[in-house]
Amino acid sequence: MDKNLIRAMAEEYTEFLRDESRMVGKAESISFPQCEKEMVHIVKKMVDRQIPITLQGGRTGLAAGAVPLKGHVMNTSRMDKIVGMRKDDQGSYYLRLQPGITLSQLRKKIEMKAFDHHDWKVDDKKAYIEFCEEPEYFFSPDPTEASATLGGMVACNASGARSYHYGSIRSYVTSLRLVLANGDTVEIKRGTIIAKGREAELMTEQGNLLKLKLPQYQSPSIKNASGYYVADDMDVIDLFIGSDGTLAIISEIEVKLLKMPPVVWGISCFFTQEALAVNFVKEIRKKTDKVASIEYFDGDALEILRVQKKKGLTFANLPDISPEMKAAVYVEIHVETTQEAIELLKLLKKKIKKADGDTKHTWVARVDVDRDRLLFFRHAIPESVNMLIDERKKDCPTITKLGTDMAVPDEFLDWVINVYREKLKAKGIRSAVWGHIGDNHLHVNLLPRNEKEYELGKEIYAEWASEISKVGGVVSAEHGVGKLKYQFLETMYGSAAVEQMRSLKQIFDPLEILGRGNLFSFTEGQEEKK
């Protein structure tokens, strides 16, 4: 084993103490394992001394799941290989990945069909050669930040815009290899380990049997990334997807690829009022199922982007948005023929007119270049907001952006927007709202100017969590709970359910070494009690 595997937390590694949530943590050591064997080695070393391990991938998370509180940081970014592929009887293709590969790397390789196949087994190579002859494939989960790693995406059950049509990453994970907190390993293939009611058994490759008692609550049927997924007679693989790095370390992932639809067009529509845009969304949802994503950006978000764009550089390449536009909806259509797409365009035109929008002021991206520009536009908005907060942080270092990640059932879309707007107006806090409106999943980003507003923002956030939980909503729909939202887990499921989750974790990880602080609160001194 490489002597340099576990390193002291030197100055040069400080960036590994934080993630996109901008929370900064502490750690004493860090490692960059390159294979499962090294992961096992590190886990065993740490567990002997009861040192907590925080897992990291691309550190793009917004819930501080990758921020260490103390102990060891295990960063998987150097495990970024595609280790094999297979084709099943139905002709579908599956890729086996190390957890550190980023979404953008994966996409590029799938698009180019360029995999480093030299070490692959004969059967995998055969599947690859067949894959090369096939038309285009794609991997559907598409969180906005494409430098997320696959391991991180599985850990928080990542979604993205296209999950409106295709669902979250859960539906595309067909196998996981895991390293448990005691150093044992296990491979779970979808469909092979099924719970009986709420009980299940899992045998590790080292021959240890784990008897699992699953929590009793009902997992919501809407888009969700809050707490463990449980259901009667569930597939045990689903327990680990969205577990925020608290149950096991993911060392290998198998994902399913989809055939790329022949025609993919993206259309951005602009409106002068939020209500018009929302009506448009509801109409589209009612009228067609050919839509892969419906995204929303409010007037504040557009304005922040306009300002950053004027400052030049990165965002200068974006098309101008007319100043009277106060809301934007992005619709992506996935269809078989151009004719079908034209028909849909006609439908959109009708609905825009009905919602009092302006059909001349729309952007239709039919070619890759234009689609990339629209994707960049979508990405630019959260980036601009981060820049704004970074500027404010210079005056007031304690503040951070407060971004919500809650979703509600379809019939509560108007209600939830109303709840947000009323509160924001009453408290006078600046915000920017965007997100996956198709799934009634909006990110409300509170932009505090000072410490007082920051505290106020936290209060508002908690109030929203409680109101939304009451109508069957979820406190985290895609970012995961991490270290920032554990108290909302209780708001959503109740304290008994959270206790059951914690008991489940302890079956896998009795010393609470993995992902300490994620999902469950953890205060110093707690470990001595155990």
Partner: protein, 396 residues
Amino acid sequence: MAGLKIDYSTCDACGNCINTCPVKALYKRGNKVALEENNCILCGGCIDSCPYEAISINKKRTKTINREKTSGIWVYAEHKKGVMHPVVYELLGKGRELADKSKHKLTAVLIDGESSHLAKELIAYGADRVILCSHVLLESQQDEYHFDAMTTILEEEIPSIFLFGATSFGRSLAPRMAARLQTGLTADCTRLEVDDVSGNLYQTRPAFGGNLMATILCPDQRPQMATVRSGIMHAKEPDYYREGMIKRVNYKGKIKPNIEIINEIIGEKKESIGDASVIISAGRGIGSQKNMKLVRKLADVLGGQVGVSRPLVDIGWSEYPHQIGQTGAVVRPQLMITCGISGAIQHLAGIADAKTIIAINTDPEAPIFSVANYKIIDDCIEVLKMLIDSMEKKQS
């Protein structure tokens, strides 16, 4: 009729050519590869993709011009206000080599505002002969007059090979010339070789953004024209005792120009980091903000720009316009020296198109090394200091 031919005696119907075809002109019919002639653009991609050499292109050619009449290898001597463009000496270096191999004479064409002292210089760098065309109208780099003068010269004789620098002037003049002479031109050649029997010039150039190299011939027309970028070929040591002849061509300057140069602004071009051809970049590993000075110094010495990884902007050691990576600038320099950058995924996304990367870092496993061409496992500050020292010595 020109056309694509598939030799079915060697074709294995593997389908490589079908995948390669950009216009869907090839398809599988039964267990055979078939050609839809109406779609084929004869790009030749399939020919290279075929492992069995079963595909070929049939070509019926236009009649050849008389090769005996051509007068060797010519180089266009671009200059400005009496200063020769360095690419000219490089072309003469290459031209000399080609001329020696094919036993031809090397000629430099000098179009100038006055009978110039530059002719001697051209001979020193390898020309056997200089064609000198002087006229007061030719003083400025006014394309039209130069083009007209060139036409006058070419009315008397035509070279076998004609080389231009791929400068903005050359890239404007050479294609216009090629169209006038109805001959072939190959842009941005990186390798030139001559077949001494046929006199054919094998011109190799990058295509598809450098991802593919293509070797191009112009077998039936003369001159064979090519442009070469500065810095690709090597100049010979000048020899001021070399002798050569000078041929003067009269220019009448009778054309009425369509284009008028109102103003010329030189040296004002502002390079943003995205366009920089040299970037020295710094990351957390430089240790202290004061070391940014060293990074800037090296960038200045090499005429480049300073780039940084995101953590340096976050902690205020540098400004956002310098940030490279997914959320900063995407760069594509010829040369990049990274100092103390470990190479977070987001950073690597911004430097994927850099040509040559020299990475300096203390951690032998830093991911930056996986994309670098050269790696130095050491303290970047020590290396920087030493490097700046020796660069400055060289300059003085």
